[in-house]
Amino acid sequence: MINFDSEKDIGRLLKAVYEPVVPPPEVKGEVLEYLTLEASRASLRASRPLWERPNLLVPILVAVISGLIGYGSWLSLNLVPTLLP
């Protein structure tokens, strides 16, 4: 008789109901194929040169240009006045 108050019985009941589900072989193959493709795409993306990776190149360019503008402004404020007669 199932004792609904017993944790042990509840566990036994759940184990009986939730027996391991074996995936169909074709599902295993399809998912593996998809993942292998995605993994090789990811490694390909990682090995591309910098100029072919806009998501990395754009922030780097923005940082460099901002730095140059900032340096130029600093120069014009601090160095140029001292050069003037």
Partner: protein
């Protein structure tokens, strides 16, 4: 469950994660070979054995693992990490299917015609009746019951999977057991 797969992978796991982080494609295949069956089974139970939904969710789980391997700090076991991703994907699946989720919370009156539960759970009829009862439990109740009693995970690991504190998980388990017990008793008396 899945006896062919050893439970303790710790040293192998560390190595595997390092290879995943370095973007080695073979590491994905290895991760997949070791954990696919267990993750598939867990997901399948949560989507009422809908093979298409289970396939999509498992695929999304491994893809997310592949993308976030760099963020995995090794504080939990690899299978706990994968379970936590899978559980979030299952929750996303139900969020996308809100109409179905509404159906889940419908009262037991809908299957009042089910036969009372017999003394054991051996018969297919009884199993199906219990499965139906379980499907009416909220998703987070089913998830913790599965992890605790079917996967035999300790509470400390369930915490990592569901992202809750040990106290919260204990409370959730108590409420889930009570809810299941109440529904089983109602069914048995009906």
């Amino acid at each position: 469950m899945h006896d062919a797969e050893p439970k303790d992978f710790n040293s192998k796991d560390d190595e595997l994660v390092e290879r995943l982080k370095s973007g080695e494609p073979n590491a994905v295949v290895e991760l997949y070979n070791v954990y696919f069956n267990r993750i598939y089974s867990l997901v399948s139970h949560q989507v009422a054995r809908d093979h298409d939904a289970a396939q999509d969710i498992v695929q999304e789980t491994f893809l997310a693992a592949l993308k976030s391997a760099g963020k995995f700090r090794g504080r939990s076991k690899v299978y706990t990490w994968l379970y936590s991703i899978a559980n979030r994907k299952v929750a996303d699946f139900y969020r996308r299917q809100k109409r179905k989720a509404k159906h889940e919370t419908t009262s037991l009156e809908n299957h009042a015609s089910e036969p009372p539960l017999t003394e054991t759970v051996e018969s297919e009829e009884t199993k199906q009746a219990i499965q139906k009862i379980l499907s009416y439990l909220p998703l987070h109740y089913r998830q913790v019951l599965l992890l605790k009693y079917v996967e035999e995970m300790p509470v400390s690991e369930i915490c990592q999977v569901v992202g809750r504190s040990p106290k919260s998980v204990e409370g959730l388990l108590t409420r889930a057991r009570r809810e299941l017990r109440n529904k089983l008793v109602i069914q048995n008396e009906g």
